[in-house]
Symmetry: C2
Subunit: 359 residues, 2 copies
Amino acid sequence: MATIKDVAQKAGVSIATVSYVINKSRRVNPETAKRVCQAIQELNYHPNRIAQSLVTKSTQILSVLISDITDPFFAPIVRGIEDVAVKAGYIVMVCNNDEDSSKTKRYLDSLAQHRVDGLIISPTSGIEDLKANLEEMGIPTVFVNRRSAEVEADLVESDNELGAYMGIRHLLDLGHTKIGTIIGPTTVSTYADRLSGCKRAFQEAGVTPDPSLLKTGSFHPDSGYQMAKELFAGATKPTAVFVGSGRLSRGAYQAFQEMGLGIPEQLSLVTFDDTEWTTLVTPPLTTVSQHTYQMGQMAAEILLERIKKRNTPPPLWPDEEGQKPEAIPLQHLKLKPDLIVRSSTSHLQEGVKGGECGE
Amino acid sequence: MATIKDVAQKAGVSIATVSYVINKSRRVNPETAKRVCQAIQELNYHPNRIAQSLVTKSTQILSVLISDITDPFFAPIVRGIEDVAVKAGYIVMVCNNDEDSSKTKRYLDSLAQHRVDGLIISPTSGIEDLKANLEEMGIPTVFVNRRSAEVEADLVESDNELGAYMGIRHLLDLGHTKIGTIIGPTTVSTYADRLSGCKRAFQEAGVTPDPSLLKTGSFHPDSGYQMAKELFAGATKPTAVFVGSGRLSRGAYQAFQEMGLGIPEQLSLVTFDDTEWTTLVTPPLTTVSQHTYQMGQMAAEILLERIKKRNTPPPLWPDEEGQKPEAIPLQHLKLKPDLIVRSSTSHLQEGVKGGECGE
DNA sequence: AACGCTTATCTAAACGTTTAGTTAAACGTT
DNA sequence: AACGTTTAACTAAACGTTTAGATAAGCGTT
């Protein structure tokens, strides 16, 4: 591939001049500039970003570290990031960690070596390394979707507490009190918050939920399936269920179908995450919808801002006196989810009110 | 961030020595090596891949250029690529072009500048630039999912002809003859192939399909919706429909639901692509399932092979005499799709046989 | 004619590695 | 004691850019 040297030679100028016309970083005689441009064209010259990066210390690469791009929840986040990244001249690296901290560690190392300009991460719990790594590498980082207990940094998340609150509240408003709750591991901030939201809704309504109706499991749809079955194996049968994640709801929904539960007659169902299939099933599901694409966009915008004014916030870098005036406060965005009421929820029917006398 | 110089200084050796212990590229006194390793640890040294790349001319970056990561068809492909890439020490850049050739062009430029080691691309039709770009940049490339008429390169695709054949054949076997076909733009190899497959199935069965029952549209679900409606607006009503893509089937399925068509009693439905929701709807759909994850894996493996023996195949680089003995022949993998028979298809019922006499 | 200013271009150092080639010490042979 | 061989480490060029500073020509003042 042609180098700047080739271009310079062809145009009969020094390489510095070529650099100046490319970057418009100094005045260049229009005539000369034209010759240079022509040479660039003819040689199909692509400036070597590697060499550029080495001297400018900027790679124009953003990285995203998530659980799994295959998850319909994460894909739009990544897409949102990509769209704003591209607009700003960045390109994005995608990293899947499958909620596995050793994969995370390896990726962070790799990203550090590649000297990516920034990182957007949906953190897995229990990464103590994370803090150390992030700090020492000094890569501008914004958290997306989940918080990390260990590290303070910019954050874009949904208002999960509110989302869950709205879901449960909706069911309560419809007269349900025996409400089953299926949720992921509460070590993760999203689920912890959603659980709080559920509790608040119950409390406000003066309803004390049967503790046997609360199920917490893992991330996997299978776990959702499992929990759904358990919910109806207990003494108190719920008349409504709130499933606290899209992935879990896939499994749970399958379980409900297998059990032949009529929705919404026998079971009112509210689900977190408004993925593709929620409107395709019959009846279409009432969901708490997160603005995933926008979440990605916001995260990327904040990250770019951080990169521009390269002042890592206080908690990551100990306050150096000289820096202070420029420091941007830590951003913490909370996107309001929407409750989309469809046909999987309905008023509690007198006939099916009790659960104990169930089928 | 610490540099190799810092490490050398701390360990009391030259930078060359440090390089040797890192890369194990020369014998180093074990004692010295230990000192170096310790220095690396203490400084949390991450070798600067930028600098490495500049001299080794290898970035350890693979890139994937697809329509949209948000599409449940592409996500597993990317995941397959990522998994084999990571195992080989590569990291992957994801690029969405939204089937837009100008975005493609910009991305190719960008990737060229970043000097990515390889490219996996699902080509959009009508990119004449593609050929020129790919050739001049000399980036090892493998096509995935779709062929490009313009450029010859390694290719991993589904046997789309076979997939469609199986789908139609299945419907014919069930006694259907008025079979509607909904398919994407036949300028794209996938759809062209699928159309051929449909035709072959009809031909073999001695059935001449009503031309009004063949609809071709765009990529978008809306287009699927549109075509589904049109299909039942015509004079000949189909008793079965074959939808030739997952994205289109989303729209089509919605249309069928709106029209209140009983599946499979009034309409037997076969759909391409076995995405998440096909088993969640009632009844679960009969689908032609592509092995997308595996497709990504294979593509990445072939690409890595190409990168290793860096012999760009004949069509891209004119045959130089010296190279010949090493050249690997162009790979062309065709993954067989599976017909998964579920409950959306059934034997043609006598009562609904005709279509002309409407509902 | 000498001076300073502007404009256009060039020179060369720097970025952080890899690696071929060199040096130097240590050791075994003769 | 002189020599070759092995081992271990060093020196310096190269990779392809950016960019500060130097140079030099052209021009308007005085």
